[in-house]
Symmetry: C2
Subunit: 349 residues, 2 copies
């Protein structure tokens, strides 16, 4: 095997995803004037003269990103599209096209893939995007999905991760921790089902969280609200890996610190209740849970009144000077350094 010939071996699990990407791509340089933003943001930006075009892609692997024992294929199709559109919205751009590639083993039937595509189609309808291409092939094991999405925006509307300013408000849409709480329920029910296939659990008390995990939505409404307000955040990204990890990204890219207030974290009562059931600290679910696909942004103080009064948005803190670090301020007014413990692309064995 050629990949084993090299005498030096740095196992991927020692690197982490970001360092790996940096190592693999740091020697690439952009050659075309149409390439405005390359690797390192939610999506690539290309200048196609009238406005700019964003391009983003995700690869989803069975057994790594999804478990078909509790993820219906239609939901998987829907979610796979939504997570890409969330990246487009995170650039403050309007999604336009997607391509979908899939590799499947022979254990899948046409009807199974039709279910998958029914979910993709529903997402296309709900978000008004066009499926414009893809690739379909076989796999040796399981299902692999690769989705690419494009979006468009006027150049001055595009929002990067690196524009946050000291004193900007730290704003988040919706509530957090739900997708993580939903996953705990689904994993528990899977274990129960394995032990007793006849069990008929009542999942009604968990329906919001389960939906957050199985059928998340991208914040089209927040994107449209910002446009209506003519408010362009200084920085924005979507929350896929967990709030802590994403805030640290914005701080690092903007060379800033921040104060995040634990009491301001938006959380649904159902999620609090599930966390109690599982003896999880609900702030931990919010900070490290991931997969919520809410928008996190740095907003100028001048927008305080608008943002403060809107039910979709929460002001959870503010950015500070670069001399400062990123702190979580708890209920006792203790400042605890923020740590990233989100999704690991290459978990240790």
């Amino acid at each position: 095997m050629l990949e084993d010939k090299s005498p030096a071996r740095t196992p991927l699990d020692q690197l982490g995803e970001f360092l790996l990407i940096e190592k693999l791509t740091h020697s690439f340089t952009l050659q075309n004037t149409s390439s405005v933003v390359g690797i390192g943001d939610d999506a690539a930006v290309c200048d196609f003269s009238a406005g700019q075009t964003v391009l983003t892609t995700d690869l989803l692997v069975e057994g790594i990103h999804f478990d078909l024992s509790y993820m219906p294929l239609k939901h998987l199709g829907y979610k796979s599209v939504v997570v890409n559109l969330s990246d487009v919205y995170a650039m403050n751009a309007k999604p336009a096209q997607i391509t979908v590639s899939l590799a499947v083993s022979n254990r899948f039937s046409l009807e199974a893939l039709e279910e998958l595509y029914a979910g993709i189609r529903l997402a296309c309808q709900n978000y008004k995007v066009d499926l414009v291409g893809g690739d379909t092939t076989s796999s040796t094991t399981g299902l692999i999905l690769s989705i690419t999405a494009t979006g468009q925006a006027a150049a001055e509307k595009i929002v990067r991760r690196n524009g946050a300013q000291a004193n900007d408000l730290l704003v988040v849409s919706g509530d957090l921790g739900g997708a993580y709480a939903g996953l705990q329920i689904l994993e528990r029910e899977k274990a129960v089902f394995k032990a007793n296939p006849q069990s008929q659990p009542d999942l009604t008390p968990y329906s919001y969280s389960i939906e957050r995990q199985l059928k998340p939505e991208a914040r089209k409404d927040v994107f449209e609200l910002l446009d209506e307000w003519d408010l362009v955040p200084n920085a924005m990204m979507d929350i896929s890996d967990g709030l802590s990890s994403e805030i640290l990204h914005l701080c690092k890219q903007g060379q800033l610190g921040c104060h995040l207030y634990e009491e301001k974290l938006p959380i649904d009562p159902e999620v609090v209740s599930i966390c109690e059931e599982f003896k999880i600290n609900s702030s931990t679910a919010v900070l490290n849970g991931g997969e919520d696909y809410e928008l996190l942004m740095a907003v100028p103080q001048s927008a305080f009144e608008k943002v403060k009064n809107h039910p979709w948005l929460s002001i959870i803190g503010h950015f500070t000077d670069k001399q400062e670090e990123a702190y979580l301020i708890n209920g006792l007014e203790q400042a605890i350094p923020l740590e990233a413990q989100g999704w690991q692309a290459f978990p240790e064995d």
Copy 2:
């Protein structure tokens, strides 16, 4: 498992790739005016006002599309990009950006992936395209690569698969069958190596064919030649699945027949010699071999003189009226119906 719940099951191997894609996507409709061409061509076309943008994607799975026992990772990286750029050239567009997603198991080290990216980088340099994004994650088994490429062209320069006219010349670039012949050599040497790891075969007599298989090039030069001539073919596509299969595509999409002349098929002497060694009919290698990434086009008769005298191009036949079928005319002037026996995305077990 949810994908097994459906009472009806149509195994994928009974469908074939094109029927599967049609079944999965026929109910999608384009919603945005910027979506000019969706599924069904070499690449999607998007109208971004100044010129048009093409978008194409490929998913490559270890054990299905490549064998790392004889495919060096650097070559794999190079080839993965090239096969996408070939699709962009097949639209008569100039490649601009790529995204690369990969899923890898822990058996790969950083150094192995750096080799892969060295090949990707070399392709980016040679073809002047920018890597602008991607996704990196783990897989349960093996290596999975998903590459998306964009390209641009003036709207009137874009060439679809469906524009061929009766009496158009059937023109192909380069020579064919080499990638297939190279694969036969590599598969044989792999078997020899397994039996006797000390064997030191002299592969020099096969170097052209092996390079066609391991390090193919996309026909940037032919794209530039067409531009220099100001010649826009009526239809064009790249040859990835085999000449027969691709000609039948052009005939079906243009609702035409064709006459293809066996004696006109371009083939390298080394490929003829390998075919003799393996007792393969060399025309079969040309017609069904695949992976040559040459350009196949329908060119108006008016360009006959230019095309006839150019060393990169061969006139191998012509299109006929829709009443006719697609025929291969052999050396005895017998007309044999053309059959597609190219690459199967879902081979039977």
